[in-house]
Amino acid sequence: MPSPIIAFEKVNKWYGNSFHVLRDIDLSIQTGERIVICGPSGSGKSTLIRCINRLEEHQQGVLRVDGAEIGDDIKVIDDVRKKVGMVFQQFNLFPHLTVLENLTLSPMWVGKLPKKEADARAMEQLQRVRIAEQAHKYPLQLSGGQQQRVAIARALCLTPKIMLFDEPTSALDPEMIKEVLDVMIELAGQGITMVCVTHEMGFAKAVADRVIFMDEGQIVEQNTPDAFFNNPQNERSRDFLSKILGH
């Protein structure tokens, strides 16, 4: 089996001295896999994916991304961040720049691309998420769903190998969730490795290769979506599923 693109080996993390947020995480993700992570709030799901691009630091264990071990080495972190794109719950677009400027910022200043090429790449990504006509507007002039799609396009401008999604639809009004999920489903069909923390079970069923259920810092169960939703093995998984699928 080819080596995994993301590998967690007995990774542990503490907040302060007492809160053990990630406990002995062992996880392998292959290239091109689409993973959905779900679980109650406070279970450490966001912390897990934020460790992948070093937005959080783990204290114990080994975390490898695309072969390189993530640690204190600045060069490794910079390299990883160029390969991993992230989409946040709160979009985190830069409000003082236009949509186009938001997208070309990194290619120009980090990727050292000339402006013409950066603009072309940006427009291509905007078309991919079907929002090209808003290129010269400011983020706060767009709706929540539109902003999140811009955020996805911004992450895609780095041509990443891995895309991380941290509850991308949780801050959206219900009528805007569909447009973002549609973009994500389309992305999933194009072969990019995706790790997605979400409560949208419909998305998981449609797209995921594997569903991982986390509770209290541990991976409780991982399985294919069908197996997980129809036949949860663990008591806690059953409990969680009954709460979110109940109504």
């Binding site: 542990n12 503490w14 001295n17 007492s18 053990h20 204290q59 114990q60 640690g71 204190d72 080495d73 600045i74 060069k75 490794v76 972190i77």
Partner: protein, 392 residues
């Protein structure tokens, strides 16, 4: 639940390590500052040697050789510099504490006045704030001093209002002669605080049990005052008061406040009150209108709504900036040197001129003000932490 490892994973000591880089930057920064300090200290030492200026704080024990216009306790030119400094500190505190109390009252009234139903009151409060905020405090102090020294009559023809005299020589007022009975009264008041607190605890638990509020405010107040009066009576009920009387050239007896003190107090109070008014106004505005509406929807009266719902929330917003204004008032009292009130800066100025020990004297000034600011910051942080609205 296991504990985090006490030794972090081993780091490579290379430029690529984040920890190493930050260490290098910090060491560089500290080194640069240290070198600068050494350079300046060396220059200072050389210059002082050249000019024959001594250094050290031993001058504090030497004789001051100057008189101080007013102080809380007796001081003459034969006392030490240290004594002079203490007089300065007490003078500063005198004007600062009184100023803080007065400015809070005035500022709150004006701040609340900006929400008055009456448009004239609102307009006048607004004009007060704009007028006093936009003129420098030094200029205001000079004007008040001018009023006190030019437009008030000479002491021989002082204005008389009841037992009070107002003139170019300041304000003269009757002051009780300190006797044993007053000490008893002070002890009585102290006991009264304890008794009042105890009574209120009792009344509060009764309220919790029965829901009937009984004697929650006026009783403790009454107990507090009664204990004080009882102490006064036990001490012999001294009533002797020193009344000021109009002498031939001046007003004699009684307590007095100099025009410098009055000008400084009034100037500082009115200037800072403009800022306090703005702080109070923003505090009241910070409480969402919905809070008052919800309170009245629950059937609370206007005063209950104010006391239990709006004021606690407004105070949270008001306390930090108002503490800032108190500190500003204390720091602005240093301008006393411009109108001749002997506060700590004024006395330090005299000391510098007499001994040439600029570094030491300025360091002492800064020490006095820094300890006040620090003490206030600590108090304020404690209050802030205690009254924070707890969030997830």
């Amino acid at each position: 639940m296991s504990k985090p490892p006490s030794h972090p994973p081993s780091k490579r000591w290379s430029w690529r390590s984040q920890a190493f880089r930050s260490l290098v930057y910090q060491v560089l920064a500290v080194a640069v500052i240290a070198l600068l300090v050494l350079f300046l200290a060396h220059n200072t030492a050389t210059n002082m040697r050249q000019r024959g200026i001594q250094s050290g704080f031993d001058f504090l024990l030497g004789t001051a050789g100057f008189d101080i216009g007013e102080s809380l306790f007796t001081f003459d030119s034969g006392e030490s510099y240290l004594q002079a400094y203490l007089v300065g500190v007490t003078n500063t505190l005198r004007v600062a504490v009184l100023g803080i109390v007065l400015t809070t009252i005035l500022g709150t009234l004006i701040g609340v006045g900006r929400f008055s139903r009456n448009a004239l009151v609102r307009g006048l409060c607004r004009m007060y704030v704009e007028a006093f905020r936009n003129i420098p405090i030094l200029l205001q102090l000079l004007m008040w001093y001018l009023i006190f020294t030019e437009f008030l009559p000479a002491m021989a023809e002082a204005w008389e209002v009841g037992p009070f005299f107002l003139s170019k020589g300041g304000l003269n007022f009757p002051i009780p002669v300190w006797a044993n009975g007053h000490v008893w009264a002070a002890w009585g008041l102290l006991l009264g605080v304890g008794a009042a607190v105890a009574w209120r605890k009792h009344a509060w638990s009764k309220f919790i049990a029965t829901g009937v509020p009984h004697g929650m405010f006026w009783m403790p107040l009454g107990i507090f005052l009664a204990c004080g009066i009882a102490g006064w009576l036990l001490g012999g009920a001294p009533t002797e008061t020193n009344f000021p009387i109009r002498g031939e050239f001046s007003v004699e007896n009684g307590g007095s406040l100099t025009p410098e003190f009055l000008a400084l107090l009034i100037g500082l109070t009115m200037y800072t009150a403009a800022f306090v008014a703005e702080v109070v106004r923003s505090g009241i505005q910070a409480v969402p209108q919905g809070q008052a509406e919800a309170a009245s929807a629950l059937g609370l009266s206007q005063s209950h709504s104010m006391r239990l719902v709006q004021l606690p929330q407004a105070l949270r917003v008001i306390i930090p900036p108002i503490t800032n204004q108190y500190l500003n008032l204390t720091k602005n009292s240093s301008l006393a040197v411009a109108i001749g009130y002997p506060d700590v800066v004024s006395i330090a100025n005299t000391a510098i001129n007499q001994t040439g020990r600029a570094v030491e004297c300025i360091a002492l000034i800064m020490l006095v003000y820094l300890s006040t600011s620090l003490a206030t910051s600590v108090l304020m942080n404690w209050y802030n932490a205690r009254s924070e609205i707890k969030e997830r």
